[in-house]
Subunit: 588 residues, 2 copies
């Protein structure tokens, strides 16, 4: 039963902020009258949840290898829709990290208000810890990772049960905010309801995680995944529905530095009780776990995209710790930028969050309709109908989310998704063009390019002193070719006299060429000489520059190898010149 | 007469801020009573100026090749004092850039107050313009550079003459600030006098420039330099003394967004007259020219220091435009940091400025005493006495500057000088150690290291596709050695099958080694293979990795060459492995 707790943490943890986000829209307008429509909004969201579960059960059946919106869209809808789905997923993953860690920090601040001034640094620290953990291959101990979910669900259920009993016995004290609440009054409009609904849809982010990871379940994996998905639905039903009901009973309302969940916990257990701190702890832990799931999902998705030539190749492969280190660093960088730009405020990030997620839902469900129509398996019409309804509903929800949150931040998500999709498409075309430019379509052509007699290398060794690295370089060069020239730029008469004398004492037959740099323009003189030699090359010949590279401690590096670095940047762009660096380690 | 205007601009331009800095100390305490002690302070400073001129005439005689505090101290006082003198000069040069451009911006803001909100960006723009100009080798047109000095001196002298006549005729209107001035009263203490004096000493920064550049004068260069130095003294006497006298007559007092010079010009010519704008323009121009002199002096000093192994070698040499580009970029970077950190405020920078300059004065004069005692030339006692008196006086002034401005910023200069001197000494020791570690003291040893029979290179070519760059790489490698291995890491069965088939069709006898990376850990598998091969090397053998490097447009580079970049960073630190990159330019 490992699949349930880890893969569900993303979805279940959303309860920590979804109730609050609904109230944040309704309470400022409706005051005490906000709670009844809140229950309505929560009801619609739970209905939507079960519709999504129905749809994703079919995704599990169709893609037991683990679908994901990107794969489904790529297979059924083509390149551009799949890139849009992928961009939605990427933005969604980065927001999962940002929102979850911000919300986790809010839970901690609720328990220890003194931490408030350090909120943003604390969130950045969370993300850095997750980064380091994932870079070092944290997953090996992932069994223990299930615990936070169990703890959170158990403590929430206990709170809901005790809260309900207390309410039934009439032991409820109204929360502090209640007095102020009654003063605000306004009308419940359709727009307000839809706005509250779109904020509450953050509760549904993460339900797709299970269908993405079917192979992670034990056999029969398909069946287990589907059972888990239903279990997830029931858990969210209980704790999201329960916390909404308690929010109503205990008059919890959004406040600074005290989350709605914390207010409920304070009302049920007392504001300084063990129960209160327990709820805050388990909430923070499951949110951290939810953020961590994005560190598994995003780099894996980026690897898929890189293998399909939509991202730089380096994202495709794993590093020595068997993790996608580039993807992890990428995710963290953007999540930290988001957190800092939005000042670590969950409320400001939520309008960005659900848009990307529902866009990928829509594309996945739309892709499923095509999938069933193609397969035409038993009762395909019914299946296509279910996924089609899912696509229609999620598209509608996407439209609601975007229109009611456009200026509040959804435009940022849409812009980011558009840019990401455009960039990935441009990368794809670039790789295609390069592949075409480099390719050898017929084998005869390849064989023709292969020289019968490869020309001997011509070597230049730039040198300023006869020392151990020079001798090592010389030995190496003599193993490559006998067409070698030692090249020295003269800036100081004394140094050059010394160099010449030392060189002659070596008694070797390799010619020494000395040129003056009258204005200390050493690099220019060297490059001019290389260019002159390049002009003398015959067809298919290459000029090889062999140069020692001193290896010192990292902070001493800027003191050395200036010629090597200069040549590396200057010779890029010149054809037919190869550069060899011979490492020389200083023992110290 | 090129030497006078350009080399003197640093010293002459100081008039633009020195009068104001004296008043800035005195007026807040003494009010209207500030002007009499100001004249006293100015008198002492002019006396000090002529003492410095007397001393530096002797430096010109002794070091006709252009001394500079660093060279004088290095020859006579030893390494550590010379490094302290050099650090003082470096800090002084950077402050010359920062103070002059801030003061130039103040002159512009005085003329056009609307520019005030853009002051810091404007200063940064000045510095960037100077940077680009100097990087492109601005000096070629340096004859025209004398003009701003002539214009400034002429316009200042005209203002002083007209202002004196007007005052004699009783046509002086009191400046706006006069009313407020009379309200503040306080006592003239010794500390206040010394503080005002130390601020006014900024007038003396730059007098050393002429003695540093004797060879730039036409023959007889020594005599011309000495004449110029005296001319400089007379000019500063006239315009510094004159502007102090006018400040008294016209009741000019430091104010925001209107410099003291601008107030005098407004009093003499009228606040919207051509004369007023002319003074502001010539002031801004000479200050820009003064900042530019530091761009000649500092990189030249850094080149000397780098040639003496106190700075990274790259500072020693000139780039293709025959300028010390590293030194120029270094100077600009630090000057911009200073300007931004001190919000572009001349007043805040002045306390940092004079300390470094007077420290290098003291060390130069002290070094001259030793110089004369060593030489024992005709009348050496008298010469040593003059320089000794100069050393004593400048040391005293240094002590006054530091003690009266310590908390206001002199501590920053002292700390920076200390750190710079320490760093240069550390760099020197590092270079000495490396030289010793790499050196071959006797020639027999060098010959012994030289192998009679250099071993043939062993080559590995990592490859993922049979394409044009691969064929080019293969051709090149075959010219180097016949001990070649093509190495392929398998991640996708399909891609590897294709690679193998294409390779076999080439019909070459070079062995192909394929290894699996079951977890997509491509780089790790490749590095492991290299390490394995390194273990098989015999003594003196080197393993050579030959790899193509795709050359694309600069922004496409991150999409390619991931193996090259990875190997470059991973192989540093491994002995006996050389890396060859074969450039392949994509035509597009
Ligand atoms: K979530
Ligand atoms: K969720
Ligand atoms: K997610
Ligand atoms: K100056
Ligand atoms: K000066
Ligand atoms: K200076």
């Amino acid at each position: 039963l490992w699949g349930l707790p880890v893969l569900s943490s993303d979805a279940i943890s959303s309860v920590a902020y979804a109730t609050e986000e609904i109230l944040l829209v309704l309470v400022p307008v409706l005051g005490m009258a906000a709670y009844t429509p809140m229950l309505g909004v929560a009801g619609v969201i739970i209905g939507l949840l079960f519709m999504l579960i129905l749809c994703y059960r079919q995704v599990i059946d169709a893609y037991p290898q683990g679908g994901g919106a990107y794969s489904v869209a790529r297979e059924n809808l083509g390149r551009i829709p799949s890139l849009i789905a992928a961009s939605g997923l990427i933005i969604g993953y980065m927001l999962t990290i940002a929102v979850s860690s911000c919300s986790g920090a809010a839970a901690i601040v609720s328990a220890i208000p003194q931490v408030e001034p350090l909120r943003v640094p604390l969130i950045v620290l969370f993300i850095l810890l997750l980064t380091v953990g994932n870079l070092r291959g944290l997953r090996e101990s992932s069994k223990a990772f299930g615990l936070p979910t169990y703890f959170f669900v158990a403590s929430m259920l206990a709170m809901i049960a005790i809260g309900a009993v207390k309410a039934a016995l009439g032991q409820v004290e109204p929360a502090e905010q209640a007095a102020q609440l009654s003063q605000t009054t306004g009308d419940l409009t359709l727009f307000l309801f839809l706005h509250a609904f779109s904020s509450g849809c953050s509760a549904l982010t993460g339900v797709e995680a299970i269908s993405n990871s079917v192979p992670n379940f034990s056999d029969p994996s398909r069946r287990n995944a589907k059972v888990t998905l239903v279990a997830l639905g029931l858990i969210v039903l209980c704790i999201f529905g329960g916390s909404c009901a308690l929010a109503m009973l205990y008059h919890a309302a959004p406040a600074d530095n005290l989350t709605v969940i914390a207010q409920i916990a304070a009302g049920v257990f007392g504001s300084d009780s063990i129960g209160f701190y327990l709820i805050q702890t388990t909430t923070a832990l499951i949110l951290l776990l939810a953020a961590n799931t994005a560190y598994n999902g995003l780099p894996q998705l980026m690897s898929l995209l890189a293998q399909d030539s939509f991202l730089p190749k380096r994202f495709a492969d794993k590093g020595s710790r068997l993790v996608y280190s580039h993807g992890i660093v990428f995710a963290s960088t953007f999540a930290i930028v988001l957190v800092v730009a939005f000042n670590g405020d969950t409320h400001l990030l939520i309008p960005l969050y659900a848009a990307g997620v529902f866009l990928s839902f829509t594309l996945a469900q739309g892709g499923m309709v095509i999938h069933w129509r193609r397969k035409r398996c038993r009762s395909w019409m019914r299946k296509a109908l279910i996924n089609g309804a899912g696509a229609a509903v999620t598209a509608l929800v996407f439209a609601i989310i975007v229109s009611s949150n456009f200026l509040a931040g959804a435009w940022i998500s849409l812009l980011a998704i558009g840019c990401a999709a455009w960039a990935m498409n441009a990368i794809f075309h670039h790789y295609q063009n390069v592949k075409k430019a480099l390719g050898l379509n017929d084998n005869e052509r390849a064989k023709r390019l292969l020289l019968a007699e490869a020309p001997k290398a011509r070597i230049i060794i730039p040198a300023y002193a006869i020392n151990k690295p020079f001798i090592k370089t010389l030995n190496y060069a003599r193993g490559l070719s006998d067409n070698i020239e030692v090249y020295h730029v003269k800036v100081s008469a004394q140094a050059t006299r010394r160099f010449k004398a030392d060189y002659q004492k070596l008694e070797i037959s390799i010619p020494l060429v000395i040129e003056k740099a009258p204005y200390r323009n050493v690099n220019e003189v060297l490059l001019d000489h290389i260019d002159e030699k390049l002009g003398e090359l015959e067809k298919h010949e290459t000029l090889t520059i062999v140069i020692p590279q001193l290896v010192t401690k990292i902070w001493q590096m800027p003191l050395h190898n200036q010629t090597t670095l200069m040549l590396e940047s200057a010779l890029v762009g010149r054809r037919n010149v190869a550069m060899v660096t011979i490492p020389y380690l200083i023992d110290s």
